[in-house]
Symmetry: D3
Subunit: 236 residues, 6 copies
Amino acid sequence: MRPDGRPHDGLRPVRFARDYTKYAEGSVLVAFGDTIVLCTATVEDRVPPFLKDTNSGWVTAEYAMLPRSTHARIGRDQSQRGRAQEISRLIGRSLRAVVDLSFLGERQIVLDCDVIQADGGTRTAAITGAYVALHDAIDALIARGKIARSPLLAACAAVSVGIVEGEPRLDLCYEEDAAADVDMNIVMRGDGNLIEVQGCAEREAFPRSMCDALLDLGEKGLRELFALQGEALARG
Amino acid sequence: MRPDGRPHDGLRPVRFARDYTKYAEGSVLVAFGDTIVLCTATVEDRVPPFLKDTNSGWVTAEYAMLPRSTHARIGRDQSQRGRAQEISRLIGRSLRAVVDLSFLGERQIVLDCDVIQADGGTRTAAITGAYVALHDAIDALIARGKIARSPLLAACAAVSVGIVEGEPRLDLCYEEDAAADVDMNIVMRGDGNLIEVQGCAEREAFPRSMCDALLDLGEKGLRELFALQGEALARG
Amino acid sequence: MRPDGRPHDGLRPVRFARDYTKYAEGSVLVAFGDTIVLCTATVEDRVPPFLKDTNSGWVTAEYAMLPRSTHARIGRDQSQRGRAQEISRLIGRSLRAVVDLSFLGERQIVLDCDVIQADGGTRTAAITGAYVALHDAIDALIARGKIARSPLLAACAAVSVGIVEGEPRLDLCYEEDAAADVDMNIVMRGDGNLIEVQGCAEREAFPRSMCDALLDLGEKGLRELFALQGEALARG
Amino acid sequence: MRPDGRPHDGLRPVRFARDYTKYAEGSVLVAFGDTIVLCTATVEDRVPPFLKDTNSGWVTAEYAMLPRSTHARIGRDQSQRGRAQEISRLIGRSLRAVVDLSFLGERQIVLDCDVIQADGGTRTAAITGAYVALHDAIDALIARGKIARSPLLAACAAVSVGIVEGEPRLDLCYEEDAAADVDMNIVMRGDGNLIEVQGCAEREAFPRSMCDALLDLGEKGLRELFALQGEALARG
Amino acid sequence: MRPDGRPHDGLRPVRFARDYTKYAEGSVLVAFGDTIVLCTATVEDRVPPFLKDTNSGWVTAEYAMLPRSTHARIGRDQSQRGRAQEISRLIGRSLRAVVDLSFLGERQIVLDCDVIQADGGTRTAAITGAYVALHDAIDALIARGKIARSPLLAACAAVSVGIVEGEPRLDLCYEEDAAADVDMNIVMRGDGNLIEVQGCAEREAFPRSMCDALLDLGEKGLRELFALQGEALARG
Amino acid sequence: MRPDGRPHDGLRPVRFARDYTKYAEGSVLVAFGDTIVLCTATVEDRVPPFLKDTNSGWVTAEYAMLPRSTHARIGRDQSQRGRAQEISRLIGRSLRAVVDLSFLGERQIVLDCDVIQADGGTRTAAITGAYVALHDAIDALIARGKIARSPLLAACAAVSVGIVEGEPRLDLCYEEDAAADVDMNIVMRGDGNLIEVQGCAEREAFPRSMCDALLDLGEKGLRELFALQGEALARG
């Protein structure tokens, strides 16, 4: 039995609240159960120095946790900096994989993913919510006539899977994450192709067969997430 | 006419959402109109070095703005550091003025005030909401038998006042704040005594009579805020 | 009785030594009793990025304490950084309130206020001395034909007042400051209008009547400081 | 054809120079072709704070590139910090997966992996070399009677694989890495179980079948690396 | 002719103002002509970690320039950090060479040397003034019965010499320093033995004979400085 | 007897391995006995801001120690920063003394000196090796037609000398360095003129005669180093 009684291959309740704050071009509060992340998309009329004069745009991300988003307070200092940068880079890479940057013009979209409450899977919720915020920001650019057509190539979502008590489980909550023998984050494109796979033995190295089972399970959850993203965007 | 049609001595709609997140000992989302701040209170079983072995507790605060809580994105770097530290210190001083630290035991309560959306008055909303979060955290300490009785001496709230278009106004929104000739933040104790007064000529130095008028106006708003805090805490 | 036998509404001996160092465009050593601050004004032919191409100049300030300006040595590290930035910002705002920045041209005047010895009231001495240094730097600009007429609109001075042993007192020394129930810093323009008021309950929240008494007392001291600034500048 | 004429499933020439420097408890210069990394293992008689009084030891790693280990000089500043921390964390996790920390006693082994020359695959060379340095440091602890028996559970090695010009290739050099559509790093335990899998679409999302092919290819290379590690350690 | 008409082997006017500020255990304003440095000695009842429980004391120094002590304003940021640290280390080493640290007890004396005005030779003035401040701080320790007898072994002074327009000159002012072909700083113990010699070709490498001539010239100046230090201390 | 049986005026075995790494324009591994330093020269088509539009080039250096280049591991943090910056500045000044910067064009050569293994004399080995790397980088510039003729004016080498057990010794190893009463580093130009002399009393101030003896001994060693540099460059 999972802590919340879900089946081993069930997602937690997923919600997307669009237009959550009023200034950002895209602003989505995403919840995967008790994991809540505010994802905002900011459009800036500049690109990083390495893209100057290339006619290419850029998409980047910054991930951070509010100090008391978790059990014990995290200082605002450097202690979580390494982990946060690693996740920021993952989010940025994932979203860039579904954007044709040459259609963005010389502008950059910054995806800020701030964790309001953490209960496992903050990075996967962040990617899944950031896609919706990015979609809204791009729609705003199109609506304002800044770009002619959407540079989005496909949807992008992410989910965690893991082996807990010998069983493959989908979308781990914190309690399961802390007890997992293997933990894997999968980022997928809407067409089912993989963008990123990060599997890690938390306690024990794991056989190839287990890797395969986790990839299967993740794919099932990701198809559901793509549907939920689509519904949220359709509500527009 | 004010941008939202309020009378010159009217507060914006004020809301307190208690238990907003699940880990913090106190967690309050406070809104003054479109200004929204998440205030969490964390109880830690340690005190700063200068209080070691004094049998006194401590209350401190940290204020920060989410990158896209405002019109233009603020980087997570140092650029806002000076202003944020100044406000953090103000919040900490204000709340300490209503706590008998000797009744806290050797523990520290950290008030994190993270601005979700900024529309003027973020520091006054933060103080007003942090008081409610502090109250909840202290109730939790009492409920768990950690302290015998409440070290809270009185309520604490804050409000901004200012001179806009020659008129004294209560609880400025961003648009008014940007246009104000004089800006004043007032922190008050529940019994009507002053904790802190910070008045500042934004455009033009101001006569003493104007200072007096702003103090009067602020007092009116603060009495309303104390009533609203009381109602929120009564809902418990 | 006050520690040095002054009447409750008396300033400490105030001295201004102009041209104290030889390189700065303005260089004033100001003493409020044993509080000694070196204020230098540096003219730079550039403005901060946000003023580029606006034809406006800028005035800014930096405040710091020498490591052994006080009872216990202060490390040169970050520990005092928050307080120093807050005071730096106050000094800058205060002086900008008496300068018509559009008459400065695209240049910036930096007021460095370095505390040589601290005995209470360092920020008010710094503002009062910085005004004299700023005046000298502006005279130098006029003398060199860089600007046609003075952008100074009025004098600027500051003083501290407080409630010590139940009595309102003017220009607190360190011993009084440490014992004060209420502490207030007042920055005033030469015409008697207020630039900034910062009152703070150090021990006990204070009634409005006490706030009024402190403002009255401060005004008396500030009128004396304006006269002393005038005499110092007349000695030129 | 690969740039150096290797078959698609061939490793570059791999060398381990043990006892490369004289102070470290383990010191191995590892080369994967032109990628050269100095891996040192330092034994320290202390553990991180979170392990105090737990009777558990710790293994951690730090990865850095010498400024001119690569085509263009990298400044010693922050610019590569995020990437380096991410790799440091990967190396540390990977090696901890083959150590029974409870057999180390209250001591920490730090694995410093400094890249002398970078030609692709620096992190995989670092892990593979760090294992040999760790083995030597542990042998030294046993020889000095500090620990009774080896806490090493198995060997640990890593290799990169990728899709270049549509073909799965083993152990990419820089030129191939820069041209890869998919890039995957695989860390494996000596018994063939997986420690970490990090696959990433560099250009194009990839189908599950390609993920499987890369895992197969990586396993082949890793078995060869385990044999080479064994030979190097046998030369002792 | 030198800029101020001095003979090639003449010092600038040297003054020591003892007890310049009131809190420090030793506080000396030293002037070498227009170079003015405030040297304070702070006694702290702790030693650096590496001296814990060794019964040895420590003497250390920190050197800094006030922002407008020189022609162009120096930011308070990192830009001068390397030079300042190098000089701080020189001052510390120099003074430690005349102190028997085992007679200090477990305490540290910090010598802060803050340059008020710079006209060449700030580091040599700092060392020469810091010795007088150190002497006063040690006398205070003896007077308070904290140490039985002085740990001072001899006096310590420093002077700059250089080759300007082909001529060896003593105690260079800024204008000469900027034009010097060779620049040498000499730190000497009161008995004429050398503590530190730092000679540097600013423009052109220099023959051994020139090195010898500079050492001779420096020795002459240092004997005068020892006499001036003695007179200043005798005034006590 | 010296630890390795050398005569008091003998150098340790000196080796230069040119083209040690493949990307840098100059790359030399230099060994003075067990002291091993990797010196790379990087040519950059830019100069520091203070040289913009002056038609002058620049030569600068950065020195660092690998964490486990020495007995106890050095953290990658700030602890060695001051010493490393001081040595970096020395290396830069030394090499600039043998380059006519006006012949470099608007480009900068960065000399990175990374200590692989430290056994005393790392800064002198770094200077001596950096000269060879600089020579190779300049030859490359000439070969590529970037500059018409070499801006090198002479060779540059450095050696340490010291008084150990009352005896002047050349090229101290770590064990001797730690036991030395006096320590001197001498940087010399190929024609025998001095570039920099830094002599320091480590334990006891030293008489002028000892200073003279050390300069004599250093000169002997430097002449041998110039010959060895010449041989290494001739092997090219």
